[in-house]
């Protein structure tokens, strides 16, 4: 069915926002336990590469997806090992992770760049719902991973806000010493959730190589990982708001394409700037709200600080 331009734009907003949603969810998980991973761009690339390789070698999309998740988790666990176990500086280790990811993903992906995905992520058209006039085609004719991405923040929200375990791990990000005093295994959970977050980020990369582009190219994430980082801050570290941020930022890119094809005169660079300026604004406004509480902000209070027992 032919879609009008605005419908197409909304559709693209969702498509472009999906990898962002995966990535932002993964990073949020890590930040909620207090670990700031600046290198998720590298993890995303590794996921894209590993996912494609896994799918190609096995001709099975499920294996591909799993490879991406496992690779993302393993790669992030390197970072977790450094920052959580060895208490290295998170910024430096994050950069290292990013650079490693750039290099390693290019290396392992070398033989796979000119190949078309044989078993890509398939489209799943939701019966009945897709026939809803106007919005049906926009919302319910996506690749199945899109629906998965949409569900992820809800799952995160449920675990974090509605379970005992979620309470404990949120405490790790707020005040690890207090959490430790009450018996929460700070180090263990930090390690696990940073790695788990990495799996989600890897999935984000796989969505590119196995879903939208259906091929692998060097550095194909072109900065999406960084945008994912911005989304976490933009969302004020709240899972459900990630959806807003991801689709909004995805929408800006879609708007860019739309503007070009409709010959509107919005410089696409301006649209490209908006997510980042928006996030900056959110950060500043947020800090202004907390100005009477020195040191407080919307972020988990212990974000970025290494945990030492007794401190």
């Amino acid at each position: 069915m032919e879609l009008e331009l605005w419908q197409e734009t909304l559709l693209q907003a969702i498509v472009l926002g999906t990898p962002l949603l995966f990535v932002a969810s993964g990073e949020l998980l890590g930040q909620k336990v207090g670990v700031f991973n600046i290198g998720i761009e590298g993890v995303m690339l590794m996921g894209a590469a590993a996912g494609f390789i896994g799918m190609h070698e096995s001709s099975n999309i499920v294996i591909g997806i799993l490879s991406a998740a496992v690779c993302g988790a393993l790669f992030s666990s390197l970072f977790a090992l450094a920052t959580v176990i060895f208490r290295t500086n998170q910024v430096v280790s994050g950069f290292a992770l990013w650079l490693l990811g750039l290099g390693l993903s290019s290396q392992i992906g070398r033989g796979y760049t000119a190949i078309r995905a044989s078993s890509p992520i398939e489209r799943w058209e939701v019966p009945v719902l897709r026939d809803i006039p106007i919005f049906g085609p926009i919302l319910f004719e996506h690749l199945w991973a899109v629906y998965l991405a949409f569900l992820t923040p809800f799952i995160l929200w449920f675990i974090l806000q509605r379970t005992r375990h979620g309470l404990d791990i949120r405490a790790i990000g707020e005040d690890p010493v207090a959490a430790d005093t009450t018996g929460v295994a700070v180090v263990t959970w930090r390690f696990l959730y940073v790695s788990l977050g990495g799996a989600l980020v890897g999935l984000g990369g796989a969505f590119l190589s196995l879903g939208t582009s259906q091929t692998f190219t060097q550095f194909m994430t072109s900065g999406l990982g960084w945008i994912g980082l911005a989304i976490v801050m933009f969302a004020g570290w709240q899972p459900l708001r990630l959806i807003l941020g991801a689709y909004l930022f995805g929408g800006l890119r879609a708007l860019d394409f739309a503007a070009q094809s409709a010959n509107w005169n919005i410089p696409s660079e301006f649209l490209a700037m908006l997510p980042f300026l928006g996030t900056l604004l959110v950060l500043l406004v947020g800090a202004w709200r907390f100005r009477n509480r020195p040191g407080a902000s919307a972020a988990p209070a212990a974000l970025g600080i290494a945990f030492f027992r007794g401190g």
Binding site: T163, L167, A171, T182, G183
Partner: protein, 516 residues
């Protein structure tokens, strides 16, 4: 104030019994063969001044420390409390002065954090409901869905107490609970504790140095002094004088220093100073102070009564909410540290390594910390290496500390030598006033003596010194005049040779006594 009139039946066995507990740290015996019995349904106070061993004793009971000798028994059977976790399992819970609550969480969330009994699936509404149930059970008034940072300190303390009680503490220990409370909140606290002891048969232990509290709120009191147990009495059999005497003791070794030769007019005047501490609780209230040229005024008092805030206010590190400060007639109310320095006020701070000295830097660097802004050390935008070396060298000579090199880091110095350096620097910088806070804390005899000598010399050259110290003997021997600070106000004052131990004890314990 309520009067504790419940006397537990002497026939009943104590809930917890500590026998002959001893704990040493190196050469220091912090706790020396102390016995303590506490019964169910009893409120038992542990009274003592700084360094008496109260906290150490409680650290043993709560599993933070292992005693060197002695035995603890619970319900008649001997137990070994190997860790805080074990203590909690045994039903011993403590609420510290600094409650470890997660500020951004609500009361309900804090209550249920890391707790086995929290249901697996628990949304905020469920947690709130459970919290309210628990609050009712223990008759504690808490706001389930308020965030901790929104609560007053008294309310936060109630949350901490509720958390301890919910996890099954039968013995509730409170460490200086009213240190952070207003008098009204303190009263509410003790009412609540009374109710707890009466209805749930909790054994409540609270550590205090405040005589009025102990008299009003406890059933029995154990007085500790210098690590030993002086006595355990029923509170009805005590009055403040008796307690004060037991707390301080009869003998205070003081060799009074020679009186000042340079006494002059008032050089530092504080009027009606009021300030809040970091938690927003008033730390100083309507405090008047006068310090004369060539005089040492000692400030006695148990830690936590506003001494820290007083020293910060008089050196510009904290701005005051009300009142005025004058130095030599010049108003310095709310000036910043640089102005105070320029006015000739030196500061030997409480934490020598985190503010007075930059421990990672060289002796030279630290030596000029007060002098770097002015010639001869400052030359335009730069510092003169020669002048630095000269200044540092002279300082080191003056304090007679032998060092390898002026460039070696301060960390390489012993605690005593570092303090001597700091003291020497501040005395040199203090042309008018010196605020010295615990200047000999942690020093060996020789270093402490050297510091005291330096203070006396400074006094005799006309500097007015405000000496805040926990060491009563030191205060009484050095000070020309001593004031006692309690709950942010000056409680009493006396000249050298006029002090009376009992009165001093009463004043430090909070009893306002008229002294001529």
């Amino acid at each position: 104030m309520i009067v504790g009139d419940k006397t537990p039946p002497s026939a009943a066995a104590p809930l917890v019994s500590m026998r002959q507990i001893t704990k040493q740290f190196g050469n220091l015996t912090a706790v020396d063969h102390v016995d303590l019995d506490v019964h169910a349904g009893e409120i038992h106070a542990i009274l003592g001044e700084n360094g008496a061993g109260k906290t150490t004793l409680m650290n043993v009971l709560t599993g933070l420390l292992r005693p060197d000798s002695g035995q603890i028994s619970l319900d008649g059977s001997d137990v070994s409390i190997s860790s805080p976790r074990k203590a909690l399992e045994l039903g011993i819970g403590i609420v510290h002065q600094h409650f470890r609550l997660v500020e951004n969480f609500t009361t309900a969330e804090n209550l249920h954090l890391g707790w086995k009994e929290t249901p697996l699936l628990a949304g905020s509404k469920d947690l709130d409901d459970r919290t309210r149930t628990l609050a009712k059970q223990f008759d504690l008034d808490v706001e389930a869905n308020a965030r901790i940072w929104q609560l007053s300190v008294g309310e936060q303390q109630r949350v901490a107490i509720l958390r301890t009680l919910s996890r099954g503490a039968r013995i509730l220990i409170l460490d200086e609970p009213t240190a952070v409370l207003t008098p009204t909140e303190a009263e509410r606290l003790f009412e609540m504790l009374r109710g707890l002891a009466d209805s749930s048969k909790q054994a409540v232990i609270f550590i205090s140095h405040k005589l009025d509290e102990v008299i009003a709120a406890s059933d029995r009191v154990t007085v500790l002094r210098a690590g030993s147990r002086v006595n355990t009495l029923r509170t009805v059999d005590c009055n403040q004088e008796l307690l004060a005497e037991m707390m301080i003791g009869r003998h205070l070794d003081t060799q009074p220093a020679p009186p000042s030769t340079a006494l002059g007019p008032a050089i530092l005047v504080g009027k009606g100073i009021a300030v809040r501490n970091d938690r927003g609780v008033p730390a100083l209230e309507d405090l008047d102070l006068e310090l004369r040229k060539g005089e040492i005024v000692g400030v006695a008092g148990v830690a936590g009564n506003g001494q820290r805030e007083l020293s910060e206010v008089l050196t510009g590190l904290r701005s005051i909410d009300a009142g005025q400060i004058f130095v030599s007639g010049q108003e310095l109310t709310n000036a910043d540290p640089a102005d105070f320095l320029r006015a000739g006020i030196g500061h030997i701070p409480e934490d020598r390594y985190s503010s007075g000295l930059v421990s990672s830097e060289s002796i030279e660097h630290n030596a000029i910390l007060r002098a770097f802004r002015d010639p001869p050390i400052r030359r335009g935008l730069f510092l003169s290496p020669a002048a630095i070396k000269d200044h540092a060298g002279r300082l080191v000579d003056a304090v007679k500390v032998s060092i390898r090199s002026l460039r070696s880091s301060v960390r390489s110095l012993s605690g005593g030598n570092a303090q001597r350096l700091l003291t020497g620097r501040e005395i040199a910088a203090a042309s008018k006033v010196l605020v010295a806070v615990h200047p000999t804390r942690g020093l060996d005899v020789g270093a402490a003596e050297a510091v005291r000598q330096a203070l006396l010399e400074a006094r005799d050259s006309g500097v007015g010194i405000l000496l805040i110290s926990e060491d009563l003997s030191e205060l009484l021997s050095l000070a020309d005049r001593t004031v006692v600070i309690f709950r942010g106000r000056l409680n009493g004052e006396f000249n050298r040779d006029e002090y009376d131990v009992n009165t001093l004890g009463l004043l430090m314990g909070g009893s306002p006594v008229e002294v001529s």
